[in-house]
Structure formats: C-alpha cells, structure tokens
Amino acid sequence: MTLFTVARRYLASRPVASALTVAAVALGVSLVIATALLSRAIREGFVEGATDFNLIAGAKGSPTQLVLNVVFRMDTPTPNIPWTIYRALRDDPRVDMAVPVLMGDAYQGFRYVATSALYFAQPPWRRRAFRLAAGRLFRDDPPDRPSYEAVLGADVARRTGLHLGDRFWEGEEMAAYPLTAVGILAPTGSADDRAIFLSLASFWEMNEISRAMNPKPLTAVLVRPHRLSDLPALHRELNVGPGTQGVFPSAVLLSVFNLLRVVEDVLGAVLAIVALIVLLYLFVSMYSATFERRREIATMRALGARRTTVLGIVLLEASALAAVGGAVGILGGHGVAYLGALLLAMRSGVVARPFAVGLLQPVVFGAVVIVGTLAGLLPAVMAYRTEVAENLAPLA
C-alpha cells in the first residue's frame, strides 16, 4: 500500500472534517482570486472604456461626475452648457474635432445620448471602432425637423428586444415623441453598448424645457486638438471661464485608480487575515486528526512503519486538502469574479473581463499547497514522535 493510498483512506475515513477543511481553504482562495481578478478587470475596464477624446468641456462642478456620466453613463448629468460653447470649440483653429453630447432620460435604464454623427467618426487617432451590426446611423437633422431616429447599443438591443423599425418610448410624457430604431451597433466593449443614441434635434424637441431654450443646451463637448501640446491651453481657457470646466478624462480615471489602490490595500490586509484564519483552521483540523489517531499510528509503527513514513502520510494529507481546496477555490474565485463583472456591467458602464489567465492562478495554487503542507508540519512531527509503547497500552 503506497503512502498516497494510506493518506487518501485516512482522509476518506473522516469525510465531514475533510470536506469542511477543503471548503474553508476553497472559500479563502476564492476570495483572494475573485478580489485579484475583479480589481484588475475593473481597472482594465476603465482603461478600455475610456474615451479617445483628450478633453471634455462641461459645466462647472465635479470633474468626476462629468467624466463618469459622459464617458461611462454613470451618475447624474452635470448642469447644461450652452450650444455656443460647442460652436466656439468647433471653430477654434486648434481643435481637430469637437463632438457635442447631451445626456438625459433613459429607456428601461439605458441612457439616451444625444449627439452628432461625428461621435461615430473614425479618424486615425481613434482606437475605438464603431461598426453597425444592422441598419444605419440616425440622420443629423436640423433643429426644426427632428427625425426621432435612434441607434441602439449592442446590449440595449439584446436586453430590450428592440428591432429595427420598432418605435419605443418610456413614460407618459414621451408617448408623443416615440423614437424609431434605425440602427444597431456591433459590441464595442464599452459603455456605448448600453446607450441609445439619437440626434440633438430629436432630443431637444422631446424635452419640454430644452424645446423652449435658446441657445440650446448640451451636457458636454468632447474635444480633440490638432496638436496635443495645445491641450493645456485649451484646458486652462475652459477652466478660467465663468461657467465651464475642462477635464482630462484620464486624469479623473487616474484619481479613481488612486482610490481603488487604497481599497485594494485595505482588501489585501483583510485577505491576509482570512488566509491566516484558513491556515489555522487547516492546522487545527490536522492536529486534532493526528491526536485522535495516535493509537493507529502506534500500531502502524509496531507493524514496521518507519517514523518518516508516518511523517510523510500526515504531510500528504495536509497537502492534499490544500491542493483540492486550492483548485476548488480557484474555480470558485473565477465564478465569483464572473458574477461580479456581470453585476458591474449591468449597473455601470464599465465592461470588466475577469478571465485573464496569467501568473496569478499557478502562483496562488502553489502558495496554497506549500502553506497548507507547512500547516500540517507540526501535526506531522507530532505523529513522527508518537511513542509506540505508550499509545498501545490497554485503553481501560
């Protein structure tokens, strides 16, 4: 009978204790894996979902709110800026492209984004490619003749079940201005998958307040200069103005990353404590199991088993528990990360892809097996030192 067989039979002889130990290890490992995968995926989701425009002009207020709302469709829109701001930026010789954006209501939780066809343009500096999966883009209609045409993001079409030609609205007020789906975008892996795009003219006419406003309102203008070295000057000019602010979207995201880093540090400390508790649990489990079977160990020794054989059996048991728990935990961690990413995608514009196989999985697995084996070291030494005569004495 090999060492492995003996260790396996010992573990099988106490199924509840073994299963609980595996579950404890698996839960601890799941937490570590899920946290690591999700935090990395969230960061990468922000990077991937970031806009290609270098500067966002909006109303004075929170830069974070402006970027989260305009780029990631989170939070509420910042106050409006007049259309004249857009016109000035569009006509500025330093500006290569300026795209007006107006954020507003929603249909089944998917935000309306009113903009111009330039939003989907594909200049050479743009990383994100917009492609129509079906239909066409909405018409850039003049303000007095809105077309009420809408282009649906990929997720919107999938989750609302809307098709080309469908007319839709939400709320009594909007019933008089139904939108018609004329296009569906291919997935972009960004918050644009969760948006309903329409022309500014349609949006202004649908809204009672903006209908009467002159100049017409906007939430933001996305700006790309010809020369990036002009960005600081453009940024300053927008910020010294009485009603506007200029924001570098990446600067806001880097501030969010700074906050994330603090959260990650705290989580790291919590996870270290969890790992310690799991380690202690494994140790206690192995210790009590070894203590309970002193008599069996003494019998094995009396039958000729060497001390090192007994040591090896206990260490094998500990490493087997750790290995199974580690493997289950890694699988479970991926499951939790997947659910977390799904939840995040449903509630925000950050598309996180947590299934990145790298060094994390083998390193965590190796560490769990090594640390788990170490946790079994003291019980193994205890088994090694078991006295035959003392433990084979009559029980009564």
């Binding site: 922000f46 990077v47 970031a50 270098n54 290569d96 050479p124 500096w125 990383r127 200069p225 010809h226 020369r227 990036l228 070295s229 002009d230 960005l231 600081p232 000057a233 940024h235 300053r236 910020n239 010294v240 570098f248 979207p249 990446s250 600067a251 995201l253 880097l254 501030s255 990353f257 700074n258 880093r261």
Partner: protein
C-alpha cells in the same frame, strides 16, 4: 600545505573575487543610472530655431537616455502608456502662469504603461530614449520632443527650470 587545503583556499579567494566583481558591476550600474544627463524645459525651449529646427546641442541627445522632470498631463489613455510632460502643471500654476505650448511639452511613450500614484501637482522624473525634431504620428499628431520607453518616478523637491533661469546642473 595539503592539496585539498590549497584547493579550499583557492576556492575561497575565487568566491571573494566573484563577489567583489558583482559588487563592482552593481556599483557601476548604479553609478551609470545616476549619470543619465538631465534635460530641462529651459534647454528645450532655448533650442528651438526658425521653422521648428532645433539647435545641435539638443539634437545631440537624440537616441540617448535622458532624464526630464516635469508635471504629467494625462492626454492619452489612463494607463499612461502615453502622456505629456510639461513645465506647467495641469492645474496648479494656472492661477499665475499661462500653460506652455509645444516648446515646453514632451511627448512621453511607455510601452507597458506606468504605475504611479498620479497627482497633477507633483513633479515626476521621466527617463527614457530622447528624440528631438518635428515628427507626426497618426495617433498623437505633431510633436517636437519625445521620450520613448519611459520610466517614471516621483521627483520630490524637484525644481523645474524655465527660460532665463541659471544653467541647470549636468547629470545629477
């Protein structure tokens, strides 16, 4: 002396010599890292001639590793695989100083992105391969000064030199 003792003594001397060599190599590497020439924004601005030509004193640094200190303007993606390094901060100095243009902006590229605690009011030290001269690329447009394969770290207490300041120190 028995042969085995002599061999032991020889082995010990070899080990010592190897260790000394390693220390020397590490010191040389460390000293080399310290001797990267530092360029200032004053030098960059002073080097510009008519029609965006640059002085030979600056173009001579082309293709070599240099260090430049300045404020980060995150004009590219948030992983900072590309950003602008400027003499003027993206927020702080705006109260009293106009932001600089192409003369005092360096385009910084980092292949693997940069992992730093970003602060718009903090001065960063950028080291990498320097390129000088007008260049156009589709993603980032026109630039005069570039640093590629950049490594970035904080430069606490650093001073930013501007045109008219006394000559900057050579190296560090």
């Amino acid at each position: 002396m028995p042969l085995s003792h002599r061999r032991g003594a020889q082995g010990g001397r070899d080990a010592l010599a190897t260790a000394a060599l390693l220390v020397c190599l590490l010191l040389a590497r460390w000293t080399g890292a310290q001797q990267v020439p530092r360029l200032t924004f004053a030098q960059l601005a002073d080097s510009i001639r008519a029609n965006t030509a640059l002085s030979p004193s600056i173009t001579a640094y082309g293709g070599t590793e240099v260090e430049i200190q300045g404020f980060i303007i995150p004009a590219g993606p948030p992983d900072l695989s590309f950003f602008l390094l400027s003499r003027v901060s993206a927020t702080g100095n705006y109260c009293c100083e106009l932001p600089s243009g192409q003369d005092e902006v360096v385009y910084v590229y980092s292949a693997r992105g940069v992992s730093i605690l970003y602060d718009p009011l903090r001065v960063y030290r950028v080291r990498g391969l320097f390129e000088a001269g007008r260049s156009v690329d589709a993603a980032h447009g026109v630039s005069l000064f570039r640093v590629r394969n950049a490594r970035v770290e904080e430069a606490p207490g650093a001073r930013i030199f501007k045109v008219g300041d006394p000559a900057p120190p050579v190296g560090r």
